[in-house]
């Protein structure tokens, strides 16, 4: 790849990672004032802020690479659903508390293996963002792990809801380990990560936690994909309506 290609590819990659972070961050922020009790409300909002902060870093970098005067806000608030490249698992509605926690568990374990790899990137900006994310993820996983044990091994009702969430999310986890030609090239160039190589470790740790929580690891009998090419579930559009409304109605508004 020529230098120009690498730069464009890195810009696209940073945008994708920004999309993942902002979409999940927004989903988590939907718990603010809606969580089961005050302390958990604040804790979930903190995690949401970690993701939104990460999105800002990825987007700022993508905007800087694009060098066309666009900002992180343009990337987050003025692109339509089809332009978003986030993995589908991040955009699914928050569901009940068990559903949110199972998704966090899956994503947190993924980031536990993904971010240390990205931290080795030859691109120092991406490596730096990943480095910061590693610390956040260690705490996120501590929370989602404990909630998995508490709810999986809790009451009959909490166990049932956890298992239901696991079954309905499992098919969305496969996409975490996909890579299109752009991501493969970036990984080969030492900028990106070979995601597929992370699955065995992910599966092992997730299985360990689920088993510890008396939950069952589902079969790999279905998978949904499409986020990286802009094919989304019907949920993302509704979410973006909410998320982008203010910026679109009052462009450039500040508080």
């Amino acid at each position: 790849m020529s230098d120009f290609d690498l730069k464009t590819a890195t810009q696209e990659y940073a945008t994708r990672l920004g999309d993942d972070s902002v979409v999940l961050g927004h989903r988590l922020s939907e718990w603010t004032s809606n969580a089961p009790f005050l302390e958990e409300d604040i804790a979930l909002s903190n995690v949401a802020l970690d993701y939104i902060g990460r999105a800002r870093m990825y987007y700022s970098y993508a905007a800087e690479l694009a060098g066309n005067g666009k900002t992180e806000d343009d990337l987050a608030y003025t692109r339509d659903m089809r332009e978003f490249r986030n993995l589908l698992i991040h955009e699914l509605p928050r569901g009940d508390f068990a559903y949110t926690m199972v998704r966090q568990l899956f994503v947190d374990v993924f980031n536990t293996y993904y971010l240390p790899e990205l931290a080795k990137s030859s691109d120092s900006t991406l490596a730096g963002i990943a480095q910061k994310g590693i610390k956040e993820t260690r705490y996120h996983l501590r929370r989602s792990h404990e909630w998995a044990l508490r709810l999986g091994d809790g009451t009959e009702e909490s166990h049932k809801r956890m298992q239901r969430a696991i079954e309905s999310l499992w098919g969305y986890t496969h996409e975490l380990f996909d890579a299109d030609p752009l991501e493969v090239q970036l990984a080969d160039a030492g900028v990106g990560v070979h995601n597929a190589a992370l699955r065995p470790a992910w599966l092992e740790q997730v299985s360990e936690i689920l088993t510890e929580a008396s939950l069952t690891v589902p079969k790999d009998d279905w998978a949904v994909r499409g986020g990286r090419i802009g094919y989304h579930t019907e949920n993302l559009g509704h979410m973006l309506n909410d998320m982008q409304f203010l910026h679109r109605a009052y462009p450039g508004c500040q508080w």
């Binding site: 009790f37 604040i42 804790a43």
Partner: protein, 95 residues
Amino acid sequence: MATDNLELYEVFVRARRGLDHKHVGSLHAQDAEQALEYARDVYTRRSEGVSIWVVRSRDICASQEDDSESFYDPSDDKPYRHATYYQLPEAVNNM
């Protein structure tokens, strides 16, 4: 879910190395581990601390308002318990 089935914990935060842990408030949690995490989220989000203690509120044995007469009044008339009650001898004047 309400907080009925959760425990109340008191939170103590050490702001900097060398300082004492200071009581900063309380919160609900299911166990000590979770209380520690919530304390981190609720009381140290603006870098207020370097160390956290959590204690189950019901494990704290507190003095009662009713006891204050018998607890504290008797020391009111014992000024000799204060260092300032004593005249320093010339020899130690610069202490």
